[in-house]
């Protein structure tokens, strides 16, 4: 007799691991090196770092390899590693105008102080399959890359700081003023150390979104842009670049730079729906690890959307957005339905049979 299928666990788990190994590494092609993934699949690595909430390109590349290219799974592996690391402290606040830029654009103004920098983007390339990459010669590609820089004269050093576009609006009084500081700073909430409560502190809101899953955030932000919401975003500024991480030495008290992180930052401008006051723009802010413009823009739109005092759509409801954007949580819960549920289902069956039996006897009182 077929005695309950999901038993005999240990051997089945071993076999599953072996099957997965064959699926990942059973082909004829060369095995991937994590360094190749880190350098050449950098968007995947950046996405995994952002959603895995750990800035570690080498480990993210390893996780991506281990997960055979499943970004949700790779981010999950990275998170599970991250959780074992002690929280030694918090970086000092970083002013992003000092970002070492590789890309910077504004959709709001044609000319911005410091200039627009297109940088590495596929925005204006035709998405035609490039068959040349099928049998790419390492030597020739390397040569081509070397040629690129051969005749390039070193530029005058870039300015230390690029002024923020939104600052121009702020100076003109077109931007909603920052909420008046009550003298005491809002305490920093770290959602990896305490559960999210509502209304969430701003630090907790931004942290939740920065760790969010790109696809999930995109869907929610898109619903808002498309009509289930009231954010009509204009990209004030989008930046991609490297930021130094300042950390205050707990012993000496001296602030030191402990490293550099690649981030994408989006500042989205949207008109505030008039509620009696003067018409002004307000700001939505997005920042995430690595180069991930879709996520940064979606985050900025959602940040602006959940500032609504009276949510009119799911994407404007703070609790709705913040509790559903985490990829590790949503993916885990979605997949848990694969676990056996036969006890709970038995319980449901009992109810349904009971109700149906009652209905039958009510219809046919003689039976």
């Amino acid at each position: 007799m077929g005695y309950v299928a999901v038993r005999g666990g240990a051997a089945a788990i071993e076999n599953a691991a072996q099957f997965s190994l064959v699926r990942r590494a059973g082909g004829d092609s060369n095995l991937l090196e994590p360094a190749q993934i880190r350098d050449q699949l950098h968007f995947a690595v950046d996405r995994v770092m952002g959603e895995g909430s750990l800035y570690a390109p080498d480990l993210a590349a390893l996780a991506f390899k281990q997960a055979a290219g499943d970004t949700l799974e790779a981010a999950f592996i990275l998170r599970a590693y991250r959780t074992t690391l002690p929280r030694l402290g918090y970086a000092e606040p970083i002013a992003t105008d000092a970002m070492r830029l590789i890309r910077r654009i504004s959709a709001a103004f044609k000319d911005i102080p410091g200039g627009q920098l297109l940088g590495p983007t596929s925005d204006y390339t035709l998405r035609l399959l490039n068959f040349d990459l099928q049998a790419e010669s390492s030597a020739r590609t390397r040569e081509a890359v070397a040629q690129l820089f051969k005749d390039t004269a070193p530029l005058a050093p870039l300015p230390e700081r690029f002024p923020k576009v939104v600052e121009m609006l702020r100076r003109e009084g077109l931007l909603a003023p920052r909420p008046a500081s009550s003298g005491k700073e809002e305490p920093l909430v770290d959602i990896t150390r305490q559960a999210l409560t509502f209304p969430a502190a701003r630090s907790a809101q931004l942290q939740s979104l920065a760790r969010g899953e790109t696809g999930g955030m995109l869907a929610l932000a898109y619903s808002n842009m498309r009509g289930y919401g009231s954010v009509h975003p204009v990209i004030g500024e989008l930046r991609v670049g490297y930021l130094p991480v300042p950390y205050k030495n707990p012993v000496s008290g001296v602030v030191e730079t402990i490293g550099e992180i690649l981030v994408t930052e989006a500042e989205v401008i949207s008109r505030i729906a008039d509620d009696g006051g003067p018409a002004v723009f307000s700001l939505g802010y997005g920042l995430c690890f690595g180069h991930n413009e879709t996520k940064a823009i979606a985050m900025a739109v959602l940040d602006r959307a959940i500032a609504a005092t009276e949510p009119a759509a799911p994407s404007e409801d703070q609790e709705f957005v913040l509790t559903h954007v985490d990829g590790i949580e949503s993916m885990g819960f979605c997949n848990h339905y694969k676990l056996p549920h036969y006890v709970t289902f038995q319980s449901e069956l009992d109810r349904l049979r009971n109700i149906q039996a009652e209905e039958t006897s009510a219809r046919d009182p003689l039976s």
Binding site: Y3, V4, R7, P340
Partner: protein, 312 residues
Amino acid sequence: MTLSVPLEPMPPTADWRDRLPTEGDRYAYGFLDEGAKREIRRKLLKAVAIPGCQVAFGSREMPIARGWGTGGLQLTLALIGPQDVLKVIDQGADDSVNAVNIKRFVKRVTDAALTTDTAAATLIQTRHRIPEEPLRPHQVLVFQVPIPEPLRLVEPSERTTRRMHAEADYSRMWLYLYEDIVKFKAITVGARYPVMVNRRHLMDPSPIPRWDVPKLNRGEALLLFCAGREKRIYAVPPHTRVEPLAFEDFAFRVEAFDDRRCERCGATTTFLDEVVDDKTGRRVYSCSDTAFCDKIRRRGDRETPSPEEKRG
């Protein structure tokens, strides 16, 4: 970049590293860092002090997925010590894949003793069942909880349900049950039946069948609940009054198995799994609690142990 994890200086015994399997020593005893364990223990004290009340905690990410028992696992890892004997069940079974996976992980990071015998365990982690064998005072039962909020059925917002608990305002839950009776002449809640704890807090007992709900009332063991994804801990201390919601003229009822008995051990007083026989297409029943079933069988025919029993 190095892969080694900075270890906290916290060996529970001098030779604990030697007893860990290879690779295990990359992780701290019990996987969680000491700060996390301390927080969980403190939140547990609060949960025990206010039976049935959900206490928020900074749930850590685990190497198993959210929804697969990360809450229960965190409690187990925060509580377990070298003297403990661990049993893990999933839907009543010790050898279900997820239970085995969790056991393997806890074993790897603690080297704890494992058992399938309910009576021998000091710590039992469970998903969706309470063992049939009555629990004793020295035992702790840890429930994996998917949705800790009993009011989620009637109210999606956490902000609102927190307020409802604070005011002990459970009218909408009562109304839900009442409307259920009006519509179906029955309360249609199958598993996850809402219970009132200590006459104060409405509590989700996790998706245990209604069959197990009476076992929550005035038990001898400490019952701990944890939802990893939703980041909540709650507890039912021993001898606490736990009552399923019911009306004076509409009693709470457990699942009816009529006169059916377990195909393997013959028991008529256990929660049964329904299985359709591959060959005959006949519906047959067997105990959901496999360890209990095995025990009865051993007691029943000591002389002729069946091959199935040797499965281990």
